[in-house]
Symmetry: D2
Subunit: 298 residues, 4 copies
Amino acid sequence: MAQLGLVGLGKMGFNMRERLRASGHDVVGYDRNPDVSDTASLPELVGALTAPRVVWVMVPAGAPTRNTVAELAELLTEGDIVIDGGNSRYTDDTANAELLGTHGVGYLDVGVSGGVWGKENGYGLMVGGAEADVERAMPFFDALRPEGPREEAFAHAGGVGAGHYAKMVHNGIEYGLMQAYAEGFELLDASDVVSNVPEVIKAWQRGTVVRSWLLELLVRALDEDPELEELEGYVEDSGEGRWTLEEAINNAVPAPVISAALFARFASRQRDSASMRAVAALREQFGGHAVKTKKVTG
Amino acid sequence: MAQLGLVGLGKMGFNMRERLRASGHDVVGYDRNPDVSDTASLPELVGALTAPRVVWVMVPAGAPTRNTVAELAELLTEGDIVIDGGNSRYTDDTANAELLGTHGVGYLDVGVSGGVWGKENGYGLMVGGAEADVERAMPFFDALRPEGPREEAFAHAGGVGAGHYAKMVHNGIEYGLMQAYAEGFELLDASDVVSNVPEVIKAWQRGTVVRSWLLELLVRALDEDPELEELEGYVEDSGEGRWTLEEAINNAVPAPVISAALFARFASRQRDSASMRAVAALREQFGGHAVKTKKVTG
Amino acid sequence: MAQLGLVGLGKMGFNMRERLRASGHDVVGYDRNPDVSDTASLPELVGALTAPRVVWVMVPAGAPTRNTVAELAELLTEGDIVIDGGNSRYTDDTANAELLGTHGVGYLDVGVSGGVWGKENGYGLMVGGAEADVERAMPFFDALRPEGPREEAFAHAGGVGAGHYAKMVHNGIEYGLMQAYAEGFELLDASDVVSNVPEVIKAWQRGTVVRSWLLELLVRALDEDPELEELEGYVEDSGEGRWTLEEAINNAVPAPVISAALFARFASRQRDSASMRAVAALREQFGGHAVKTKKVTG
Amino acid sequence: MAQLGLVGLGKMGFNMRERLRASGHDVVGYDRNPDVSDTASLPELVGALTAPRVVWVMVPAGAPTRNTVAELAELLTEGDIVIDGGNSRYTDDTANAELLGTHGVGYLDVGVSGGVWGKENGYGLMVGGAEADVERAMPFFDALRPEGPREEAFAHAGGVGAGHYAKMVHNGIEYGLMQAYAEGFELLDASDVVSNVPEVIKAWQRGTVVRSWLLELLVRALDEDPELEELEGYVEDSGEGRWTLEEAINNAVPAPVISAALFARFASRQRDSASMRAVAALREQFGGHAVKTKKVTG
């Protein structure tokens, strides 16, 4: 069993520590929240590890991850490895790898999929970086992924950045899949032909072409709230869908489904759409069509 | 100058009567609303016309038009012509033509574009039906269309149904055009790079590639309300966009822009989207992502 | 064990007979192809069954199914049941049920999902019709569906038509799911960041959020042909996607993903797009942009 | 009348020189092509102008424009002004303005619309930069824009970058408008209800809601080639559509129409779509659906 430093013990990192420890690994965790942290600081974490060290960073993408990597570059020594397992944009990886490289520290970028279920089911892993570094970290990958054939939940996707790129596309697909189920749900809900929508969706879980893990989650959600009436139709997005679309643009790849899924989220967050006000204004102008005007008080 | 019976004196029909009379035609109008009607009933209208008659129907599409045509079939006599100038679905035209045909009455379907501005500017006209009937009605078409070359505002599109089909596609395009301007407006509005959005849009009126009549109407709307803040982003649809999309499906024609424009209208009318509740539910299930829940009281 | 007449022994029906027989049911099959048929004609099939009979129709949707139902209406007697398990449009079901009803024959419409894998894995089933008829046919449904809890692969979706409606929406979702994976595949393929695309997709099979049966099939396809280079990007559609979109229109439900997936198929079948010729023509007109012209010989 | 240096005498710059000279301005042009150039080099151009100078750059966006601006920064002196009238990305403008600013040279970014017709019709102009610089350049703007009220073809859109931003959105809208007309054309073409498609489109030029300059160009194209059969359905894109979509993403603005128009162009350039091969592969896997395979020889 091997030793791992783990920075970031939020929803994902906390569960990963549990799963790694259950596999017998020696995990030393650090988080700003002392209630969950094993060490008081990042230097203390590094000090607690025996060189050559492997430190897995599991903090929010963007500045938090970049800053953590920069701090680690100062603390770690030649032969150590840093793994960024967050949802970083793949374009961050080259800079991270270069910075660490000047200190002789290796770098792997890992896309980690599985959400809060990963602790129990294992995580799907997509890794970018050098083969030797991947081999060094394999015991941790093997502990994190589901049991069974390694290649069904782990891939060495390519050089630095390839892991996050693969995860980015994975999440872009995820947007499309969710929206496809959602449109079907809304149509079944809107029509009165099918009298028991949750039962129909439940029956898609086995045998059908649309069976999937996301469908099983939809069944769970409908079990708890058969009309999904306690939720608002308000959906955030966390970056990967946008990046996927930007990559599609950069590569001249048509992505109508992924973009439609992203735009549906954007629209879900608008109280009143400027574009639809413009369309309403145009209809009023040319046709004298009735429009809804806001009640303006006193 | 010629004599025309005109059934339906609403927003469109009323203005058309004005324009036809201004050209010197003898128009006898009938409307259920006695304040605008020239005659007390449809039979009285027919009685007031000298055979062979031309009767232009300008009532709402669907049952009102079909019923009016059916009534006229009983009242008119061989050699008369009925013109349906409403936004009927082209599939209604064959039935109308057949019914009238059994009485020896001709039938033309006319797509009329121009909205409330047609009285002043003239109307664009797309006509379906037999050549001889089109010739008989040409004086009215010439009066209704703008001055200038006939072929720039009038087309004999084909046999029965072709006029409404052309108008249907015209309106489908119109949906796409309006949505394109609307998306551009929303982006200019959302970004803070352009400091005076109405001035920019005003400046697109001449010289640019995007200049159009719809753009001029958008400028008018922004003149009255620079942020379009008195309107709600709530947009009805009146059928032609749906039919265009259904025809695209029937002919296996990709129509991503027209469908996107139609769906934006559908979405604009939803208080809370069932599909987006489903996406929110899925995200909560797999990721523990925060969702908005409705406040349930009591 | 129970007795079933099965009309149509093609790709689906043949496999279903196998699975039903493997469960111990007595299946008498009829197909126009004598090589696979148990009986020489539909009357002979009916004659071979003991009343009250259950006859499952598994022939192509549209006229073939309607004609078979009409024939059966003449051959069957009060208390018998006809099941349409094909991909019929749900609007056909009411007519079928009424026709059979005049002969005292019951009717169930069943959406059957699972493709060629159903024989081995079992089929997902969505059923429309009367509760008593559903109960009568339950032994066959139980044999056809996968083992395990009935409600995970079988639903009584509602009255006549509800089974096919549920299957229609299922297939609409399926279009969206496939297109989402396909866009992700194309982006991975077009970019050079990920060096081993099939390995990455293979690694999505377990642990990830996008794991599904369709993903496993994509892995199979990539195992056989890692670049999918032996296939043409030409995709048929068999009706359910179109109907789903038409139902979305009828119910004013935004369906951007399902429509995008359908339009991608339409476009895949065009050698040269008239709309894109129009865009090329416009760009040439206003900008003198270079266009590709066809080589005209002779 | 005023003096202007004009760098870049291609399709746009050449025509602009003509129009400016026709207004009486003294234009000194430079182009790498000696056949059209008034001067032998950029330094010679600058030498030929009387300070304080105004130099209008009209070369391809990206490196050519950036390099020209950098050269001019070395050649010009305090109080001069550089105008970038190309289709530069608005994010280039800040860097250009800063570089020139260190030499005391002012900077304006101008979006110029009108294509090859601008020489005759005048150009629509959207300008970003300081008010004083805009005033200095106004004689040239007035000469380039169509006659009539200034505000209908000219806007001072905001600070540096606002001119190109406005032009970017203008072009994004243009993509959507063209695709809307194109889809309508394709549907009319595919259906056989309308027997004379070019005549119908010609008749949309006056009176209708969809009348526009682009429509008039489509009529011109159809006059020359009624089926547009000499063109290939292959459409390039030159950046602004992509940037508009990226800005929509950055501002969380749904842009389904503009993205659909862009993706249609991407797809038009693909010989064989990887995504559609993936969909075909999936259908073959689950349904045994017939697929088209490529003929592999040898």
